[in-house]
């Protein structure tokens, strides 16, 4: 490719990245204690809207960033996986709180030892629970990461379900591996 092409894509990447990083539609997967700090961060005092992330979408299909807030138990793990798989590319995951990073001090039969054993994670925010300042720091790190991403890559990602040029749907690596729990009768 000519240098002019490179220049064009990098400028386009910059522009898309800039737009994406300030319009984060988040899906708060709130389970536990960290939810209280998530609330504090989202409310007027700390106000994540300053970073363009003030608009939670409660449908995974409309969200860009999955906030996994709080402990994930083994009973809940398939649900988290389903929610992640339902999100469209490009998507990012924030592990909010130490339980989601490593399992924290819940080293026991019920708790998943870090959600990165189930889904990929972009940003880890440690703390039990992290303070709102800490969360905002994590969010800014995510913005940096989004900006640095090669934005157009997502279009050709084999995992991506959005239109590939040849019209073939990619197969996601996790597809078909999720067990669904039947609802109780």
């Amino acid at each position: 490719m000519s240098s002019a092409g490179n220049f064009f894509t990098s400028k386009l990447d910059d522009a898309i990245g800039w737009a994406r990083k300030f319009s984060i539609f988040q899906y708060p997967f709130v389970t536990a204690c960290c939810g209280m700090e998530y609330m504090s961060t989202a409310a007027a005092h700390y106000d994540v809207d300053r970073f363009g992330a003030g608009f939670p979408r409660f449908s995974p299909r409309q969200a860009d960033v999955l906030f996994v807030v709080g402990t994930i138990s083994h009973k809940l793990a398939p649900v988290l996986k389903t929610v992640y798989d339902q999100m469209c590319e490009p998507k990012w995951v924030i592990a909010f709180g130490v339980c989601t990073c490593t399992g924290g001090f819940y080293d026991n039969y019920a708790t998943v030892q870090g959600i990165d054993t189930i889904i990929p994670v972009d940003i880890y925010i440690p703390g039990c629970p992290p303070r709102p300042e800490n969360v905002i720091d994590g969010l800014m790190k995510l913005q940096e990461k989004i900006q640095k991403n090669e934005q157009s890559r997502a279009l050709y990602d084999p995992c991506s379900k959005i239109g590939r040029p040849d019209g073939i749907q990619g197969k996601c690596s996790t597809e078909g591996k999720i067990k669904h729990i039947e609802p109780a009768k």
Partner: protein, 177 residues
């Protein structure tokens, strides 16, 4: 534990434990008062009659089944005595009218862990009994819907038993780590 069968602070007014002793003198295996908590240990077969007595006697009126749980005494050596039975199902009753509490304990054998249900007398027993089944594997005879409540159906074993390792994981998805 201090054995305390006869003393009553107010003469004339019997404590719930004393009333219980009067009525079921032959059926109470053991009783004690420790730090003001009155406890009676009764046999498996007498549970429903004792519970009915606690609930329906107007002078007792234990209208709350406040808590229902179990304790696993496997390898227990407290007071250098091993327990005869592995489990104890523990009931905490509360009387709103008289502001009194009483604890009833029922020893349960390891081989046939089965207790009569109280879910028809107190609605609160329903979920508590499910939880005890889930965590200890103690069955409740006559329970309308005895299935796991906190853990998932695929989970094998009963987590709060002392012989279940605290970090033995059985993930539905993902690796065992």
């Amino acid at each position: 534990m201090t054995e305390n069968h006869t003393t009553s602070k107010q003469p004339g007014i019997l404590t719930p434990l004393q009333r219980l002793q009067e009525k079921f003198s032959d059926k109470i295996i053991e009783s004690h008062v420790f730090r003001g908590d009155e406890t009676a240990v009764i046999g498996l077969l007498n549970l429903r009659s004792v519970a009915r007595f606690l609930k329906e006697t107007p002078e007792m009126d234990f209208n709350f089944l406040m808590d229902l749980t179990a304790v696993d005494y496997l390898f227990y050596t407290g007071g250098r005595v091993q327990k005869e039975f592995r489990f104890e199902v523990v009931y905490h009753f509360f009387s709103l009218k008289f502001n009194k509490r009483i604890r009833i304990k029922v020893p349960v054998d390891e081989k046939n862990p089965q207790v009569d249900t109280l879910s028809d007398l107190w609605a609160s027993a329903n979920w508590y009994e499910r939880e005890v089944w889930d965590m200890f594997g103690i069955q409740f005879k006559g329970h309308p819907n005895l299935k796991r409540i906190l853990m998932y159906d695929q989970f094998e074993g009963h987590a709060l038993r002392k012989d279940y390792p605290f970090n033995k994981r059985q993930p539905l998805i993902g690796p065992i780590n």
